[in-house]
Amino acid sequence: MFRLNGQSEDVPGDWSDEPLLHLLREHFGLKGAKFGCGVGLCGACKVIVDGEAVRSCTFPASALEGTEVRTIEGLARGENLHPVQAAWLAEAVPQCGYCQSGQIMSAVALLEQNPAPSDTDVDAAMDGNLCRCGTYTRIRKAIARATEAV
């Protein structure tokens, strides 16, 4: 048993060998976290487990017992976007958008742990999230905007 966006869920027995990413996407139907590399190098699959941004492609489903998992689908409260989501739209961050779920989850975890991150803190927290389109300057701006909003 574990918590997924506030709901109690079980890992079906035949999915226990899968990484969390596949479990989320193909069993629970939550498509926000993305497959990018499968080895924890690009960050597209990041979700928040017990308050930490983790790479779900290398996080085994078998280790979920008792954890609290949050995905991008659980950030908004109804129509009200999380301040990080709102900042991402206001700064028009996404180009292709494929990496942005992981970027947003990294930023959410950062701001929860450090509500006023320095530029160095932002670099350290976000450097493991790759973007090929080149949205990094807007990611910085969006985090700054969300920092003010939080």
Binding site: A33, G38, L81, L89, C96, G97, Y98, D127, G134
Partner: protein, 690 residues
């Protein structure tokens, strides 16, 4: 020219068919294996029903946010609120459109879409609710878009932005179908230009893996000469274990004769054997000593999209449906129909948002794999390439080897000679068999390799010639095609020429430019970067600071200039600290998204100089992960300042333009900082150690 089209009945509602003269709007096809689409059939993109409009996007959406720009055009010309228009991605049930390549969407589709929307607006205003309406093209001056009306020049919240930030399913790999299985096609660890096929495998061991469904011997067409073996599982995570348990033995041909790619394309070796066959500039430089004699080598590079390509295929009721993240779903339909002997009307390909294209998702690969597996199992199958497959089986930016010579007199270039050896781009080896490529080599050269060799400067007796050689790695279009590497080489050489002349590199360029639009972006970038008021070389403690400048024209229509500032540490590590960029692409539909394209091009420019490389081992791609073929990171991202020159020139493309100026500016800044002219890319820090 024919400027008439028709608004046509679409069951219910009012549907516009866009008409336009092919002679006006068509361009040279970028994918030669695909026939030039009939522009007049590029139809039905805007429809009206029950007070709402639906824009079926006639382009692939891959992050250029063209859905937003075209919705702006539609809302403006329809004269309706932003929320009155719904945007849908197209499928192949519609009439075919050109592949989404070459920064053509705004350039070629703005006016046709505006004409159709204007006709629809008038029809609705006249009380029409159903049926056909004829589109009679009106003068541009009568279109609101060209008068900068409505949403033109604004930056609304991007289309699909909400879906992206809330994690909604909009990419091919996000598709779910009832009873869907997960597949992969295994191929030999070998060059795709060497014949390979599976000869033996341990099916019993594979069957013992939980989640195993099937081994599929008929796994669809080869990729290059690599014939695959399909595996299917009920869960995606089982595929790795099945592949391992199968322990496939491969029959692999002997090494490719050009396995040493660097030696194969060495420009000096080629020149020693005689002149290069394809001529881009046909001047005749005089013999004699040269003032600049520069060798520039640019390696293979992957596109590196964060989305490994993916497809879901479903064979049901004698029809095949494919969901694809592609720059060209019509090409996929045609290839799949041909490969599996289906009628084109039996295959439907639905566009999904593309998770990074950059020229690399223009052919049919993973889609045919998914189709083969779905056909074999009569079930929906999802296939997403692994990251190692994305490197090994995709096509890449070809490596190129350049020799550039210049001679000067009285501060002006009098003679110029640029020779390049590369591999194919337009006539990509990923699609064309070698026998067909020999024909294109003989009669057509390769305009993708050539792009940018005709420099936008008056350089006296200027010659540029090239050759393209088929390599063991598939090569093809990569953001900007040849323009990026060619401009890196030519802007480096021009910078050296300015040094020989003892002139400021901005003033030196201006003195060789005839085109006022190019002069304008160059002067403007000098202004915003305070070029004349800032030292080009400086020392800050042990750190060497340098500034460089470059400019160029993309596809003869779109203009950019860049100033780069770099800081080089004593151990030779380069940090790009600031990039200034000016860009002129005519009428700007969405300034914020044009800036976003500049930002992307500048990050790609940084990558070209500092990181892009794709290591090979005996002619096969050795890179498996981003650690082997790095892309720029957030920490490496400099401050970026962009200024758009807003003009009344016709709207053109922005998606690749700054690739002509960014790399050269960074290389020239490193030269200013260190005194070292980079000749091999990406930068080797040991060359730059103090």
């Amino acid at each position: 020219m024919n400027r008439r089209g028709f608004l046509k009945a679409g069951g219910v509602g009012l549907v516009a068919l866009i008409g336009g003269g092919a002679a006006v709007f068509s361009q040279v096809p970028v994918i030669p294996s695909r026939p030039e689409p009939d522009f007049e059939a590029a139809a039905g993109w805007i429809a009206y029903r029950d007070g709402r409009y639906t824009l079926t996007l006639p382009r692939a959406e891959m992050g250029q946010n063209i859905a937003t720009a075209m919705k702006q055009i539609a809302c403006t010309e329809l004269d309706v609120d932003w929320d009155a228009v719904d945007v849908e991605l197209h499928d192949t049930a519609r009439a075919g459109v050109k592949p989404t390549v070459g920064s053509e969407s705004v350039m070629l589709f703005t006016e046709p879409l505006a004409q159709a929307c204007a006709a629809l607006r008038d029809a609705v205003a006249a009380g029409r609710a159903t049926g056909e309406v004829e589109v009679v093209a009106r003068p541009r001056s009568a279109l609101k878009v060209f008068q900068r009306g409505g949403a033109i020049g604004q930056s609304p919240v991007i289309a699909q932005g909400l879906e992206i930030v809330t994690g909604q399913p909009i990419y091919a790999a996000d598709i779910d179908r009832p009873g869907m299985l997960f597949g992969r096609v295994l191929r030999a660890p070998a060059s795709t230009e060497v014949r390979s096929r599976p000869v033996a495998w341990n099916a019993d061991a594979a069957q013992a893996v939980a989640g195993f469904v099937a081994v599929v011997e008929d796994a669809g067409p080869p990729i290059g000469q690599a014939q695959g073996l399909g595996i299917v599982a009920s869960r995606p995570g089982a595929l790795d274990a099945i592949a391992e348990a199968l322990a496939v033995e491969w029959d692999v041909g002997s090494d490719h004769p050009r396995a040493d790619v660097g030696a194969a394309i060495d420009v000096d070796t080629a020149l020693a054997a005689g002149p290069l066959p394809h001529v881009s500039l046909d001047g005749a430089p005089e013999d004699g000593a040269w003032d600049v004699d520069l060798r520039v080598d640019v390696p293979l590079a992957a596109h590196g999209p964060i989305e490994p390509r993916a497809a879901v295929a479903e064979w049901a009721d004698e029809r095949l449906t494919i969901w694809a993240g592609s720059q060209d779903v019509f090409y996929i339909r045609d290839v799949v129909a041909d490969a599996f002997s289906l009628g084109a009307d039996q295959v439907l390909v639905q566009s999904c948002r593309v998770g990074g294209g950059f020229g690399g998702k223009t052919i049919c690969t993973v889609e045919a794999e998914a189709a083969a597996l779905s056909l074999a199992l009569s079930a929906p199958v999802k296939v997403q390439w692994t990251r190692p497959q994305e490197f090994a089986l995709a096509f890449h930016r070809p490596p190129s080897s350049h020799r550039i010579k210049a001679r000067l007199q009285d501060g002006r270039v009098t003679d110029w000679d640029h020779a390049q050896v590369s591999s194919h781009v337009m006539f990509t080896s990923a699609v064309l068999p070698s026998w067909m490529q020999r024909g294109t080599d003989l009669f057509a050269g390769d305009g993708g390799v050539e792009r940018g060799m005709a420099v936008p400067y008056r350089l006296g007796r200027a010659r540029a010639a090239y050759d393209a050689l088929r390599l063991p790695v598939h090569t093809g279009p990569w953001r900007g095609l040849g323009a990026g590497p060619n401009a890196l080489a030519t802007e480096s050489a021009l910078d050296e020429a300015a040094r020989v002349a003892g002139l400021d590199p901005l003033a030196f360029r201006l003195a060789h430019i005839d085109d006022p639009r190019l002069a304008a972006v160059l002067e403007e970038v000098g202004r915003i970067a305070d070029w004349s008021g800032t030292a080009q070389s400086a020392q800050r403690g042990e750190t060497r600071i340098g500034r460089g400048i470059a400019c160029g024209i993309y596809k003869e229509v779109s203009y950019a200039a860049t100033v780069a500032e770099v800081a080089v540490s004593p151990d030779g590590r380069v940090r790009v600290t600031h990039l200034w960029c000016t860009h002129e692409c005519g009428l700007v539909v969405n300034p914020d998204q044009v800036k976003a394209q500049c930002e992307g091009n500048l990050l790609w420019s940084l990558g070209m100089v500092l990181t892009d490389d794709l290591p090979l081992d005996r002619g096969r791609v050795a890179a498996e992960y981003f650690s082997d073929a790095p892309i720029p990171t957030l920490t490496e991202t400099p401050e970026i300042t962009i200024a758009l020159l807003d003009t009344d020139n016709p709207p053109v493309g922005a998606g690749e333009t700054a690739m002509v100026s960014g790399p050269g500016a960074i290389a020239n800044a490193i030269r200013a900082a260190t005194g070292h002219r980079l000749s091999r890319f990406p930068v080797d820090v040991t060359e730059l150690a103090a």
